[in-house]
């Protein structure tokens, strides 16, 4: 890696200083965080194309909130148990699968399963049901924050991705899950696309559309909860929406849209993380800001009518 310091522009970037420490010197501490952000960004941006195309932005917002509720509850439970001489399930855990991660995953998967069932209630629209699934967990998270004042800052860090410190085992778990999700999406790309574009015809042609629908929601839930546990809810939601929206605005081919979304997501994670170090900014919001900048070419193309 030392050879990077001999390449002119990269050398300047790596040796930029913040608070008396160069980025290069901070890298060993930041490495896991950067990698986690990049992996989560790639995964979220890829799935984000489906989120935009299937008009289920509210689903991913609800899943994010429900995942966050799982995390907040894990803090509350471990807090109570620790208070009564039980165990502490949070903090700088080095275990492969944390209590927070587990709670977030369980909550998101149950919610995704329920949403995929497409429960209908005649007097409530689907949007209203999703709105409820978004606001109620959001409110509960705030209530829990109030009750766990000791951990409030830590929970906020987790939820908003203010400071991304990821253990090696957590990073490996994120990479493993991402590979599994992306493998499934590569394997069933055609089925996911046909089901998303025209479920009725796909079903008439013999595809198990309901199963693929459930698999899409499940992979979304898993991706959201695993990513949130690593890099925070706000950046994950941003990566799910902004890069894919930008990609769909500037491309006219589906496969290109997936590729561009991934590149935008990856780029904004990398650049956002670097800038947050350089200017001592919170990491999640900085990555979000850079991802929002990716919208510019798309907006320009809309304005210019290209």
């Amino acid at each position: 890696m030392e050879y990077l310091l001999h390449i002119p522009l990269i050398k300047d970037i790596l040796l930029a200083e913040s608070n008396g420490m160069t980025f290069w010197e901070a890298l060993p501490i930041l490495r896991n965080g950067i990698l986690a952000c990049m992996v989560a960004a790639i995964l979220s941006s890829y799935l984000g194309v489906y989120v935009i195309l299937r008009r289920i932005v509210f689903v991913s917002a609800a899943l994010s909130q429900i995942s966050s509720l799982g995390i907040a509850l894990s803090f509350l439970i471990s807090n109570r148990l620790a208070g009564s001489g039980g165990f502490s399930g949070h903090g700088e855990s080095e275990s492969f699968f944390t209590f927070q991660g587990g709670m977030s995953l369980i909550f998101a998967c149950i919610a995704a399963g329920l949403i995929a069932l497409q429960l209908q209630e005649r007097r409530l629209t689907r949007e209203s049901i999703l709105g409820i699934l978004y606001t109620v967990p959001a409110g509960l998270v705030l209530l829990i924050l109030d009750r766990t004042a000791k951990d409030a800052h830590e929970i906020e860090n987790v939820l908003f991705g203010n400071a991304v410190f990821v253990s090696t085992s957590q990073l490996l778990f994120l990479i493993l899950i991402s590979l599994v999700v992306l493998f499934l999406h590569g394997l069933f790309y055609k089925q996911f696309i046909f089901t998303a574009f025209d479920a009725d015809t796909a079903r008439a042609a013999g595809l198990k559309t309901r199963r693929f629908n459930q698999l899409l929601f499940l992979t979304l839930a898993v991706a959201i909860s695993i990513s949130i546990s690593s890099i925070g809810a706000l950046p994950v939601f941003a990566f799910m929406i902004l890069p894919s929206a930008s990609a769909l605005l500037i491309t006219h081919r589906l496969r290109t849209a997936f590729a561009v979304a991934v590149v935008f997501g990856f780029g904004s994670a990398l650049v956002g993380f670097y800038l947050s170090f350089l200017f001592s900014l919170p990491t999640g919001p900085t990555m979000l800001a850079i991802a929002a900048l990716c919208l510019m070419p798309g907006l320009l193309s809309v304005i210019l009518g290209v």
Partner: protein, 256 residues
């Protein structure tokens, strides 16, 4: 001709509320069936049940496991947000045959051939969302053909078209039927097209939750249409064709 699809005492609808009940009929290979009835009568629900998209509330559908359907849905049900070309859409017709294997050059070749068959090869690279109604319809028919169907099912294929577009699509459908020898089920509002080209008809009577079916010549009569549509309609025979004339609403006529 052998029976391809047998509907046995079928009840259809959503939830637990039946829209239509007691449907029993046989569809034979190569027949052309039109499905007509007022809005909301259950025409699309009936074809979706036959296609296996919806489960019947009661009764059963008997057909060979190997029977393949080529479905052409109402084109306005497809979301224009998808950046897919006409060729991409037709290629979807090859997806079930390919399973998890990659799409190959031969699939693209076939998709092109089907586009050519429906007279739409020149728009293969165009975005589906940018096409006109008639062009979209041709592309969707080409996709249905790519499924190599035994039965071609079309849901209001001429909806929202002018008479020229309507005639174009109808001629195409009839030509394909002749070339491929497949069975045809077509949901339509166009009584005059069914009067001209149709052979068999399913006439939906929503108020009775029943269907009537049989030869077009037997069912497309003044009295039946008046009863179902509440319209002052006349049906005449003209040079071996049946012609449906509309004189106005029965309600309005009775008021004046």
């Amino acid at each position: 001709m052998p029976t391809q699809i047998e509907l046995v005492d079928l009840s259809i609808g959503y939830g637990h509320q039946p829209l239509l009940e007691g449907i029993s009929l046989s569809i034979r290979k190569g027949e052309f069936w039109g499905i007509v009835g007022p809005n909301g009568a259950g025409k699309s629900t009936l074809v979706k049940t036959i296609l296996g998209i919806l489960k019947p509330l009661r009764g059963r559908i008997e057909k060979a496991d190997t029977l393949t359907f080529g479905y052409v849905p109402q084109r306005n049900t497809l979301d224009d947000i998808f950046p897919v070309t006409a060729l991409d859409v037709v290629l979807m017709g090859r997806y079930p045959a390919r399973g998890i294997r990659r799409i190959r050059a031969e699939d693209r070749g076939l998709a092109y051939d089907y586009l050519e068959k429906v007279g739409a090869s020149s728009i293969a690279g165009k975005l589906f969302c940018s096409l006109s109604g008639g062009q979209k319809q041709r592309v969707l028919i080409a996709r249905a053909l790519a499924l190599k169907p035994d039965v071609l099912v079309l849901d209001e294929p001429m909806d929202g078209m002018d008479i020229a577009g309507e005639a174009d699509i109808m001629e195409l459908i009839l030509k394909l039927r002749k070339d491929l020898g497949c069975t045809l089920l077509m949901v339509t509002h166009s009584l005059h097209l069914m009067a001209t080209y149709g052979e068999k008809l399913i006439l939906i009577r929503p108020e009775a939750r029943r269907i009537e079916y049989g030869e077009v010549t037997r069912l497309l009569t003044r009295d039946k249409l008046r009863e179902i549509y509440n319209l002052d309609l006349e049906v005449h025979n003209w040079h071996e064709h049946r012609v449906v004339l509309m004189r106005g609403s029965l309600k309005r006529n009775s008021e004046t």
